[in-house]
């Protein structure tokens, strides 16, 4: 029943949660950062069994197939652990300066990551739902962490209300699916689909499930909360939301669509086509109008959710290898996006500290007085725009490759063209920030800022290294996408 080896990452994370709380109780307030350090060590330790499991190989099923540890789960778990560690690195100095609770913060972030790790293995409606709630619930609290700040309160409240609503919608969809098929494990739902595929209750269940996940990944038209929440939440939390929480949503969507609803591709394929086209376009066009960098990143992350959905959209028309390619495209996009977006947020945290502002215009002339930070910003923003030789180009490339899997299919070509136009629009708003930082004159006197803290510098170095290395040698990340693609064809 219990495969202890397979569950070891979850156990280690659970133990880390307790250690973090213990450290917070026992150490003096000025050494509370130790709780963060313990969290990072715990995350890395949880990564070790992933390697041993990958070494042994094979697929491990538990609890009658509701909890599966396969290559896909290992890759995704690894991503969440690494992303979590980077978020913690970026949080340490931020929390210390603002004097908010530290131990509890680390505890909640780790709890949310634990939820994401559970989701990676969830192959059952209930496990999936519990995992997703574990991801979201701590995030509601984290968004309101700057409790003295009205915007943070608004962020938290908005996120909470929308989050609860989306959970309700998701649960309703899941219950319809369960009601019509009589099953809750993904493989068995897939087996029972053929009998009920015509029933409107089942179709409705699938669509409601999509809508529920749509809220989680901030796809248009379910995205309103994202920019407000990102803007009000502490910056490291915004970084976490845009990668960890959104990533969990994408992973849930991938598993549930490709395994449970494998027989209903004609339902979710076209729906996601529309969702992808809308999300890219609205996200990018709205981002054009932003003057606040964090809101801009909020809309940019909406747009990127659209790009991640693009390969999904053609699933109804694809078979075999093309279907696998679509899965590979979404997952690899997520892997690349995670690193470059965390890097972008880390750079924004550092620059916001340096300039004391998050307004684009206040960053004018940054390259004059802080060339290193400006260069980092340039690398991450142009990577998000998909300009070679930075990693983002590969994400865009696999997306295009996936959606064009059948170049004779007009729908695929149409979506590819929409995505191509969007890629050009996106460049404009990323370049606007860099124009301010590199090309506008610096204010007199130059803003006095704090120096870069070491944990934040470490986060920047890690993300920079991955963004550059994966840009020149994309196989670095594509390898993991390749390893996990098997899930597409059960």
């Amino acid at each position: 029943m219990f495969d202890y080896h397979a569950l070891l990452p979850e156990f280690i994370l659970g133990a880390t949660l307790l250690v973090v709380l213990g450290v917070d109780l026992l150490v003096a307030p000025r050494r509370r950062w130790l709780a963060g350090a313990a969290g990072i060590v715990g995350l890395l330790a949880a990564g070790v069994p992933l390697l041993t499991l990958a070494g042994v190989g094979g697929k491990r099923e538990m609890f009658a197939g509701s909890y599966v540890v396969d290559d896909f789960a290992l890759v995704v778990k690894g991503l969440f652990l690494v992303a979590g560690a980077i978020v913690l690195l970026a949080s340490v100095s931020y929390l210390r300066r603002d004097r908010y609770y530290e131990g509890e913060y680390y505890f909640l972030i780790l709890a949310s990551i634990a939820g994401a790790v559970v989701m990676a293995s969830a192959r059952d409606l209930i496990t999936m739902f519990i995992g997703l709630e574990l991801v979201s619930a701590p995030a509601f609290l984290l968004a309101g962490w700057r409790k003295g700040d009205l915007r943070s309160n608004e962020a938290s409240l908005k996120f909470f209300l929308i989050g609860v609503l989306s959970s309700a919608v998701l649960l309703f969809g899941m219950s319809l699916v369960y009601g019509t098929t009589g099953e809750s494990t993904f493989t068995r739902i897939a087996g029972a689909t053929a009998a009920v595929s015509g029933e409107s209750a089942f179709v409705l269940g699938v669509l409601f499930t999509l809508v529920g996940f749509g809220f989680k990944i901030a796809a248009v038209p379910f995205h309103f909360w994202a920019p407000d929440t990102y803007q009000g939440a502490p910056l490291p939390v915004a970084a976490y939301l845009s990668v960890g929480s959104k990533g969990a949503g994408v992973v849930g969507l991938l598993t549930i669509c490709y395994s449970a609803f494998a027989g209903a591709r004609d339902v979710w394929g076209p729906a996601l086509w529309v969702l992808a086209a809308l999300t890219m376009t609205v996200g990018n066009l709205t981002a054009l109008r932003q003057s606040n960098v964090v809101r801009l990143l909020g809309y940019s992350s909406v747009a990127h959710a659209g790009f991640i959905l693009v390969p999904f959209a053609m699933a109804a028309a694809f078979e075999g290898a093309a279907l696998e390619d679509a899965f590979f495209g979404s997952l690899t996009y997520l892997l690349v996006y995670a690193f470059m977006n965390l890097g972008a947020f880390a750079a924004v945290i550092a620059i916001a500290e340096r300039t004391g502002s998050r307004e684009i215009d206040d960053w004018a002339g940054l390259a004059r007085y802080s060339p290193a930070l400006a260069t980092l910003l340039g690398v991450f923003f142009f990577s998000l725009a998909g300009i070679p030789p930075l990693a983002g180009w590969f994400a865009k490339f696999v997306m295009f490759k996936a959606v064009l899997g059948d170049p004779g299919n007009a729908w695929g070509v149409a979506l590819a063209v929409i995505a191509a136009v969007n890629a050009v629009i996106a460049l404009f708003f990323y370049a606007r920030v860099l124009k301010s930082a590199f090309m506008d004159p610096a204010p007199e006197p130059v803003p006095e800022g704090v120096s870069l803290s070491r944990p934040l510098a470490a986060a920047l170095v890690i993300t920079l290294a991955v963004t550059l290395a994966a840009g020149v040698y994309p196989q670095l990340l594509a390898f993991f996408g390749e390893a996990a693609r098997g899930l597409a064809l059960p």
Binding site: I387, P388, V398, K401, G408, V424, L427, P474, Q475
Partner: protein, 527 residues
């Protein structure tokens, strides 16, 4: 020297500048001389290696040489496949040559804001992108190098470019020219290359239809394209259109050229030189290397369109030149016309035409590069580019004026200088285009193109007259000017010599290109 011939030679050419950029990054900003010396060293090393490759190149052979083909991104079937043939070799040498001269010229000419470290890093990254595009034989690799030039050029224009304000419709406040030009350049090129990428992917997927493995390999795709089985019908039509968009923006062909005058005028001197001399060639090279051999039937179908657009570009570019008051902008528009001749040559799809295109590319690179250097130095001295305010330059600065006269003569296509061959042979080829072409159309194109050469002579002589000749205007009489210094001559004299050499003995270029072009035409268009 086995390692040298198996890809390492070309890799050195391409990646030495990148290594140089990394080394320069590690040197503190204050040590300017060290930074300049390092950049010069790496640019020179890259040039020397390209000369060695040229010397060792087997001119009797049509295929790719010095190639390498190793694993790169197995997840998407893309390989690190490089090599040169007679078509790309002259362009590789041209790019390393111009880069070296730009570093020499930069030695004591720094646009504001003074920051040699950043400027040289960008220039070296640019060099890698340019040389890499000419040696890439894999579509993905080509795409990466093709796009690699965007970021450095964007920053070069945007940071060091023209600070004069300009009025834009829809904006209340005037915008600095450099900011507008930089983003316009970036957006136009990205727009084109996004569609080019879609075209590449479509080719990739269709390449597997014959039971063969799918591939991004340019060599393999050219072979399958020549068979004429895979890439046919509306599929091929749209793919060619996608490639056309990507390359035509870069060339630039009328009506996609509007970024060019802004970017070239606003860019700092070295930026304009690199843009005109090398970056434009990436587009026309793309046509010759990718669009023509892989989609030969579509190339025939699109040839009249390309020819018409090319002729429009020739006439439009010349007329636009006649309307300019700004010397640098005039030279920028002249590029539109000259690239029109290159595209006219390509559109004939014949040996003569494609040879003309390549020699035209090389000549335009040398001559227009020189003209932009001169325009930059004139602006450096007079602090204006308005031709109405200039005059009598020949008397004030005899050396600079002399070279300007020479460059203008070369640019208008004077026989015996490099510019002649490309224009003459392009017109010759359009008298006798590929079999099955619309003769009336191509011969009309020839006539109109010939009129264009007259207009070209017109505006260049007019420019010379206003800048170089005549009496010295009042405002410059009392001032003292320094004539061309050693660094300037160091950059210009090699270009002058190259112009003479290609003009008098064009076999320097044709000797390399002819066999490869013959092979290309024979395979794709049946001789």
């Amino acid at each position: 020297m086995g390692w040298f011939e198996n890809g390492w030679g070309l890799s050195l050419i391409v990646f030495l500048p990148l290594v140089g950029a990394a080394v320069v990054l590690a040197v503190p900003r204050a040590r300017e001389t060290a930074i300049k010396a390092i950049a010069l060293g790496f640019a020179a090393a890259s040039f020397v290696v390209s000369v060695i490759v040229t010397v060792a190149f087997d001119f009797g052979r049509a295929g790719y040489q010095f190639g390498a083909d190793t694993s790169w991104i197995p997840a998407i079937d893309s390989r690190f496949h490089i090599g040169v043939d007679g078509i790309s070799l002259p362009l590789v040498v041209l790019s390393t040559f111009i880069t070296l001269l730009c570093v020499i010229y930069s030695w004591n000419h720094w646009p504001e804001p003074h920051n040699p470290k950043a400027f040289l890093v960008l220039m070296l990254v640019l060099a890698t992108g340019m040389a890499g595009t000419f040696v890439a034989l894999d579509l993905v690799l080509f795409f990466i190098f093709f796009e690699l030039v965007l970021l450095p050029m964007y920053f070069m224009i945007g940071i060091w470019g023209d600070r004069n304000p300009m009025r834009l419709p829809g904006f209340k406040r005037p915008v600095e020219t450099r900011l507008y030009a930089a983003i316009k350049f970036f957006l136009f090129t990205l727009f084109g290359s996004a569609f080019m990428l879609l075209g590449f992917l479509a080719l990739y997927f269709r390449s597997g239809n014959g039971g063969l493995p799918r591939t991004f390999d340019i060599e393999a795709l050219s072979a399958r394209g020549a068979e004429g089985q895979l890439f046919t019908g509306t599929f091929a039509f749209w793919v060619f259109f996608a490639l056309f968009l990507g390359f035509a923006v870069k060339v630039p062909m009328w009506p996609l050229h509007t970024w060019l005058p802004d970017a070239h005028t606003a860019a700092p001197t070295v930026g304009s030189v690199l843009l005109a001399a090398i970056l434009l060639k990436l587009g026309s090279y793309g046509f010759i290397r990718i669009a023509l051999p892989i989609l030969p039937e579509e190339a025939k179908a699109w040839a009249p369109v390309i020819a018409i657009l090319a002729v429009i570009a020739i006439i439009y570019g010349s007329l636009a030149c006649l309307a300019q008051t700004d010397m640098k902008r005039l030279i920028a528009f002249s590029s539109v016309g000259h690239m029109g001749f290159v595209m006219l040559g390509i559109s004939t799809l014949t040996e003569v035409g494609i040879n003309a295109a390549i020699v035209g590319m090389v000549a335009h690179g040398i001559i227009t590069g020189l003209l932009f250097f001169l325009a930059g130095s004139i602006q450096h001295r007079y602090h204006t580019r308005e031709m109405a305010r200039l005059g009598g330059n020949q008397k004030i600065l005899p050396r600079l004026g002399g070279i300007l006269g020479f460059a203008a003569m070369a640019s208008l296509g004077l026989p015996g200088l490099a510019g002649f061959w490309g224009e003459f042979m392009a017109l010759l080829a359009s008298y006798n285009p590929f079999a099955g072409a619309n003769l009336a159309l191509f011969r009309s194109a020839m006539v109109i193109g010939a009129v264009g050469t007259v207009l070209t002579a017109g505006y260049l002589l007019w420019m010379l007259q206003r800048v170089n000749l005549g009496e010295i205007p009042e405002e410059w009489r009392e001032k003292s000017f320094r004539d061309a210094d050693g660094y300037e001559l160091g950059a210009w004299v090699p270009l002058v010599l190259a112009t003479l050499a290609v003009g008098v003995y064009p076999a320097i270029v044709f000797g390399a290109t002819n066999d490869s072009v013959m092979a290309l035409v024979a395979r794709a268009f049946g001789g």
